[in-house]
Symmetry: C2
Subunit: 303 residues, 2 copies
Amino acid sequence: MRLHSPKTRAFLLVRDHVDSSVTRFLRERKFVLVPTPVLSPSTDDAPHFTINYYGTKALLGTSSQFYTEAGLMAFPRVFSMAPAFRREPVNRSTPLHFTEFGYLHLEIANANCAEVMNTIEDLLATVVEDCNSQVAAELKLLGRRISPPRRPFRQIKFDSVYPGVRNEKEFSEISHDATMKFSHNLTEPVWIVNWPASVKDEIYYKRDAQNKDITMCFDLIYPEGFGEGSSGGERETDYQTLLSKSDLRTMTRCQWYLQMFKLGLTPHSGCGIGLERMFSWVSGQRNLKRILPFYRDQFNIAP
Amino acid sequence: MRLHSPKTRAFLLVRDHVDSSVTRFLRERKFVLVPTPVLSPSTDDAPHFTINYYGTKALLGTSSQFYTEAGLMAFPRVFSMAPAFRREPVNRSTPLHFTEFGYLHLEIANANCAEVMNTIEDLLATVVEDCNSQVAAELKLLGRRISPPRRPFRQIKFDSVYPGVRNEKEFSEISHDATMKFSHNLTEPVWIVNWPASVKDEIYYKRDAQNKDITMCFDLIYPEGFGEGSSGGERETDYQTLLSKSDLRTMTRCQWYLQMFKLGLTPHSGCGIGLERMFSWVSGQRNLKRILPFYRDQFNIAP
């Protein structure tokens, strides 16, 4: 275990302050924490772990997004923070991919993409300010100098970052390497926008009303090779559209989610933020597997 | 779903403020949040869920205690907050038992039971004060009037609460009903102390040096039928004692934990606090299954 190491100690203090800064920021902005379960149906096609749940097959949740969206029935601004699980392929082991990781979700009623993006920009700037004032010595020990990013972040179109990529399969083949290369050349966080519907077309994203070939979503890319930090967008809330985009599996597994829109849910936008990526960027540690005491990946289950 | 209901809304707001109050209190007292994994070996004999983890059998953690204790290698005061999982028997369904629940652990270096008990007393008083000042309207809507408990809490000996109970089997047969009956008759939280080693003898608890028949541990009991709220005690840190109390399964599964004490870990005390029980007591809701939107028990996996 690395808990005796000064670097791990410094990292854990930074991590603790980021966690505290994130929740304080969100609560000051009137976001309410919605409890979301781990044991659940899957919300997307991410590879998952299954368990035998009293004779029924259940999954370890890959994302709390659907539950967080449901929270909008109670409050206009909601967030969740919970572990999520991905059964990463054995042959895809990178410093960025964990099988268990912290996932922050936030959803805002009657908001468009811009409002969510502004919120994340303010959140990241606040987190960096808080860490610079509260854990300066730890950041120094970790060799990290970081300034609050300049707002608004630059927006770059999909086609400039991934030229020539026209469908989901092409994208999934090149996305990790191309995104990392793009990230390495940045000095400030940026947004990738204008995603072709042929590349990103999850049922829960809305298409652009002005141009049906574009999905209303965005990715946040951290600079200096820290990679992708968040994905989000405007949610599809039209029941008939959701139904027409669903396959049988989605309809069975996520019946309650579809039902919610049949009854009517206010238009909203939101995003998911991988917490380890944020800790990594703030603390300047590219490989958390060298510093985290109890991480989980394809090759590490204990301690 | 109950998210449209005013009671659920009020409960979720109280819950959010309890969560915020707990973490703020602990951080003000210099506790550092230690990240603990869900995917792990089991730390006790609580019934668990298993998963196939790349060909190896892994468990959904029933408690983060061992990982939290490990955090003492880095900091003198640590806490963790994470979901925990128990495979409750199908025939034991009560309003208090969930298969997935929030678990707060805290550990304090060079502390005895009294210091941990004082900390929990202050924590609970602070949480109630914060809720009375910040979510008074919600508590009123839930029909809850609650005052900060008087400190120090009363300490009652095991023999007065469970007279005649001499071993673990006898205790497990009567404990739920007897504890609930005891809790119903209380008007303030109390501690149950002086646990016979014949009843409670987990390897991680220390025996009383003055009286080897007594285990250095305590249970917190909420008043008004809200049941057990916390278990904790002074941890065994002597490697030879731990080894002599371990069976082969413990030695295999928790080798890293035993190893930690072979290398030497400072004496410490700590406890685990079930968060749903705390939310239940503060909000005055005896059956959270009637009010929580996404709870998990033997009969409920979705949504």
